[in-house]
């Protein structure tokens, strides 16, 4: 693990930049797509997801389980910032 040590220990800026970039890029692209669909009066993304989940109930259930686990992980756990190596 030593090889991935950031030059500035304890600084989250690299990881945080990646998270910001990935999350916002995904949401912005999908939202732009949804605006275009609405502008052209085509089926919205929500309706397409609904049809897809109706056609693929097992995959939809798995996706819901994953989302639920993520939400519980982000909001429900009590992990704390470590303040030193291996804490």
């Amino acid at each position: 693990m030593q090889s991935v040590l950031a030059p500035n220990a304890d600084n989250f800026d690299i990881g945080m930049s990646w998270v910001v970039f990935a999350v916002f890029l995904l949401l912005i692209v999908i939202t732009v797509f949804d605006v275009i669909l609405q502008w052209r009066s085509l089926q919205p993304i929500g309706r397409r997801v609904q049809e897809w989940s109706t056609a693929n109930p097992i995959l939809a259930a798995l996706l819901l389980c994953a989302l639920g686990a993520l939400l519980a992980h982000f909001f429900g756990n009590d992990i704390r910032f470590a303040t030193g190596p291996n804490q």
């Binding site: 693990m1 991935v4 040590l5 950031a6 500035n8 220990a9 304890d10 600084n11 989250f12 800026d13 990881g15 945080m16 930049s17 990646w18 998270v19 910001v20 970039f21 990935a22 916002f24 995904l26 949401l27 912005i28 999908i30 939202t31 732009v32 949804d34 605006v35 669909l37 609405q38 502008w39 052209r40 009066s41 085509l42 089926q43 919205p44 993304i45 929500g46 309706r47 397409r48 997801v49 609904q50 897809w52 996706l63 994953a66 989302l67 993520l70 992980h73 982000f74 909001f75 756990n77 009590d78 992990i79 704390r80 910032f81 470590a82 303040t83 030193g84 190596p85 291996n86 804490q87």
Partner: protein, 192 residues
């Protein structure tokens, strides 16, 4: 009905566009702020002393309540979106669009699943609690840390607080979109 007679749903376009603007501005500000973070982000203050426990853990749970309200708002918004006017113009639907529609959407879902898988794998590495200072920290640390600096913008004086407007706007936007995309109502206003 001709294209000239079609009433475009400007309100829905406006709501989605407003959400998009919030996302774009939020992304710009968040990206900008990550590059001015002090060393020892969210673990030590500028004097090298550990930050108080109250500032290291979960953010205010009111954010969760706010998120739930936004999810419900996203669901309700789906009831007011007018779609499928195009069927009045194209009785069979634009053939070129239909031919590629399913394949494109399937590809998009595959990309979403792949992205979620990568995020979960990264998060799994993060919660292994690798040595502090690596880039492999849990995503939840980054999120909490960002909220911390939104509420305590001055690292030199951690007791100084401000209203976390950016956090509130982004929580509302994210949850609104998730509620709208993943909990779309079956009874949306659509032409038969």
């Amino acid at each position: 009905m001709t294209p000239a007679q079609i009433r475009r749903d400007y309100i829905s376009v406006g709501v989605l566009s407003l959400t998009l603007v919030v996302l774009l501005v939020g992304a710009f500000l968040a990206f900008q702020k990550t590059h001015v973070l002090p060393p020892a982000t969210c673990t030590l203050d500028l004097q090298g002393l550990p930050i108080a426990d109250a500032d290291k853990g979960l953010p205010n749970h009111l954010f969760v309540v706010l998120g739930f309200v936004a999810i419900i708002a996203g669901h309700v918004f789906g009831r007011f979106r007018n779609t499928r006017w195009y069927r009045l113009i194209y009785a069979q639907g634009p053939r070129a669009f239909d031919a590629h529609n399913r394949a494109l959407f399937t590809l998009a879902m595959a990309i979403v699943f792949l992205g979620v898988s990568c995020a979960l794998f990264y998060e799994a590495l993060g919660v292994l609690r690798v040595p502090q200072g690596t880039i492999l920290q849990p995503i939840t640390y980054y999120v909490r840390c960002a909220i911390h600096y939104d509420m305590h913008p001055n690292p030199a004086v951690p007791s100084e607080t401000q209203f976390p407007l950016l956090t509130v706007l982004l929580v509302v936007s994210f949850c609104f979109l998730f509620g709208h995309w993943l909990w779309y109502p079956r009874s949306g206003q659509e032409e038969p």
